[in-house]
Symmetry: D2
Subunit: 281 residues, 4 copies
């Protein structure tokens, strides 16, 4: 399938500020950026680079003087995904067999304090027979127990807040899911991207869990089909894969995001109890 | 200088458990492991591997049956260090020029919630003219304001706890320093190692701050000379560079650590206001 | 029924310290102290007084010099209780009709941050038809979901910690229950006392919820029969009704508690689904 | 001096809701309400009552149907205050001599976790010779270190947040001051009231500390003269003395507050290093 994505972020800058943007579609085995364009208006010098592990494409931009500007990204992306039958992938890859990179997604991180949720996660989800069923149960539990309210949380909200206050946005849903997976020794990482049929359109966040050799996508918000997600980045949590980081004195004034299908038919895919997993690897 | 280091950790295991140990001395530009030996008693199969970025050497060991065991590491290590005159390295490497790997040490992490300490850190340390002086002021502030009490904290204690409760151990001192540096956009990372002349002997933790192209060591506990530190690992914080991680059901029963000089004369080096920095790179 | 209670607390005092003890059995409508004796060894001047609202009997004692001492309390207490049929007391006393004293137990307090648990409590317990059933469901939920582990928490542990970390002692079970009740606008208060058939013997803590004009006792630890509780104090939470408060430099060395029946037959009473409530008023 | 105060709060009510308002001027030894008027528009039945300890005058009002309404309070208040020379009141009233009511303001409360700030408070303020100087130093420290930014915090913000994030409003300044006092065994309570010359006009909050037998007012925001405060209520913290509590489903739409002098000359009084204390008792 071929998608067109675009996003446009506007800022008012009050003093010298460095921005790191993370809005490019990623090139991966299953995702190819066919064409893309980045426009900064008014024009400014930018630097593009990848994160150390290749999981993010950053744009760095330094603004020296107070000004207003808009950064716009547009791309066409060919995306394919794999549907994996999880009935045969019931077992946990033992920590002892994990690749060291994947093992790094077992550790607690800024917004995913898995070390504090061990008892909770074992009690609620430990009894499910397979890893897939555990992660699906976590996803359903979050969907059922956390209320999605736009604007209810902020950039400092973490999994510990969400599990007690029971309210949040996609970022919070993702963080809580990641923390609950890691608490069960299941590697899990933050996924940020564009989402087809997300309404209203915005950047989206969900998570990937590592099951039997594949990163499988799970979205406890259930706000968009799983097979319409265009990956921007993955990371430990929003601390290292946020859409934008601002070092200095500036404030966002508007965000516009869009994602459309341009070629191929689209049948929305959601998990419905038939033990399927969607992987973008 | 040549050091001998050794450590010995004993555990009682009650059920199937995977251990990840992080007790090997690292091989770096400035540190060479001349001889080393790892003994598990009773003997068990182990796996040695490096972290993704080469900053840790892990040993993974899976225990299937309830048992007691001891893991012992011994090594001789040749270590050199560089003393850098920081009077000429006054400026912050702009975020815009940082290598993406180094930039990853700007982000908040599990135990170093730098995003919550921005105002504090700017108010207390923002006015110091150079990066070196800022980090030294952070180090002195922690030394002066946080009380070192063995056993006062636990594995869940974070920089937010330490800055309010004003008590901790070397791990907590390091986490707080890292958080305060990152809050000022200074890359900082966790350092764990063996420490000559640390009394009583134990694993030690402190931090490295990235100043003008070098990782410079700072130790706000002031419990050991800066030039007697043998690096085991660096990481974002103790979440990814702890001495041991236990996935399962087991408990530590004893820890024994030792670090001696075997060749070369040793003049303890501490920062004393003459704008020197010690780097192990 | 007539109970004998006694407790003995020993301390080592390192510098000038004021102690406030809260170990006397209370005189209430349903509880009469027949005989009692307080011994401080070595003898020291003490002051006995009641809290402002009569819900605690304090002993204040100032130690000027470093020393060791033991305070021992012994009493015989006549206690009766009322079993209330809650099938007819289904409705919430509207906030608008609450006495101002009782309304004060609706507010969040140090260890019972009910304001943060509103969504959680409504979601989990809001649908139960009566107040009694709501509180019973809270009690059962805590019993089922929180693990009782001696020594797992400390004096700073609050309901927010317990609901996430899922472990605690009687004090933590009580605080969480109180917070969840207040989140539903049900007045709830901390109860501390002696407990017959508690094993091992210790001071005990649970909670009272205000249902249709009566304070009804609930104990989510289920460690002792409800009709063998001798009240020492009630309060907002352990902040104002702890067994001891120490202002100065001292540490406890031992605690000994005992509670026996001396007259009357005792049939342990527990809630078993027949909609009964035990009240000590 | 004679002041006129008035306040007007508007709400939209979406379902059955009980409101508790705390907007009446209090009658105390030093403050006399000469005339007052409470208007609810549209008219509704209300109930006026005092808190258990006489420190608040509440209005309770139950709205059964969705509606909009406005509650307006107007009063003329005669207020006098005492200026106390604190050079002669240097000593702490020992905990052992405190009245039990006053001792209750030593305990930690929902927003004032003094038990977590003991080391901090002793280190920063413990060395000041008198209680007055300690409290004044706390006040100055907050004024210097915490940034006042309207709208920066919310109803769940506590002293622990404020001491780390270093930003807040009058409520947060008061909570932090109270916590730091209690950490030094100085009784301290929350004060809410009308404030002459506060700009812009709003309800105000600050604290009273108990020094040598008097409750002395301290305001670390320094936004209003100390001798122009008309007391509405005192309490442990905003949990039991907030201007309004809403149990149900409603939202505030506007707040209007005013405070003027109607008789007497007014010379703004602020602490200026001459060891004076203002008391409203």
């Amino acid at each position: 399938m071929k998608f067109s994505v675009n996003s446009s972020l506007s800022y008012v800058v009050n003093g010298p500020t460095t921005f790191i943007f993370n809005i490019h579609a990623l090139n991966t085995t299953s995702q190819t950026v066919l064409t893309e364009q980045l426009i900064v208006d008014p024009p400014m010098e930018i630097e593009e680079y990848k994160s150390h592990d290749g999981s993010c494409r950053f744009v760095r931009l330094k603004v020296h003087q107070p000004t207003n500007f808009t950064i716009t990204y547009e791309a066409e992306v060919e995306m394919k995904y794999t549907i994996i039958d999880e009935r045969n992938s019931a077992k946990l890859v033992p920590v002892v067999e994990l690749d060291s990179y994947i093992a790094s997604f077992l550790y607690p991180s800024r917004y995913c304090q898995s070390d504090k949720l061990t008892k909770f996660s074992f009690k609620e989800f430990g009894h499910y027979p397979s890893i897939y069923e555990k992660v699906l149960a976590i996803t359903e539990w979050i969907y059922t127990n956390i209320e999605y309210i736009s604007g209810s949380t902020n950039a400092q909200t973490s999994a510990m807040d969400t599990i007690t206050e029971r309210v949040g946005v996609c970022r919070d849903f993702a963080h809580l899911g990641i923390a609950l997976c890691r608490a069960l020794s299941i590697p899990a990482r933050y996924f940020t991207g564009y989402a087809y049929q997300l309404n209203p359109q915005d950047f989206h966040a969900c998570m990937e869990a590592y099951i039997d050799g594949n990163w499988i996508i799970f979205d406890s918000t259930k706000l968009a089909p799983l097979n319409g997600l265009i990956k921007i980045a993955t990371g430990r949590d929003a601390a290292d894969s946020a859409v934008s980081c601002i070092f200095g004195n500036a404030a966002g004034t508007s965000v516009y995001v869009n994602c459309n299908i341009v070629e191929g038919s689209f049948t929305p895919f959601r998990y419905d109890g038939n033990q399927k997993g969607v992987s973008f690897q």
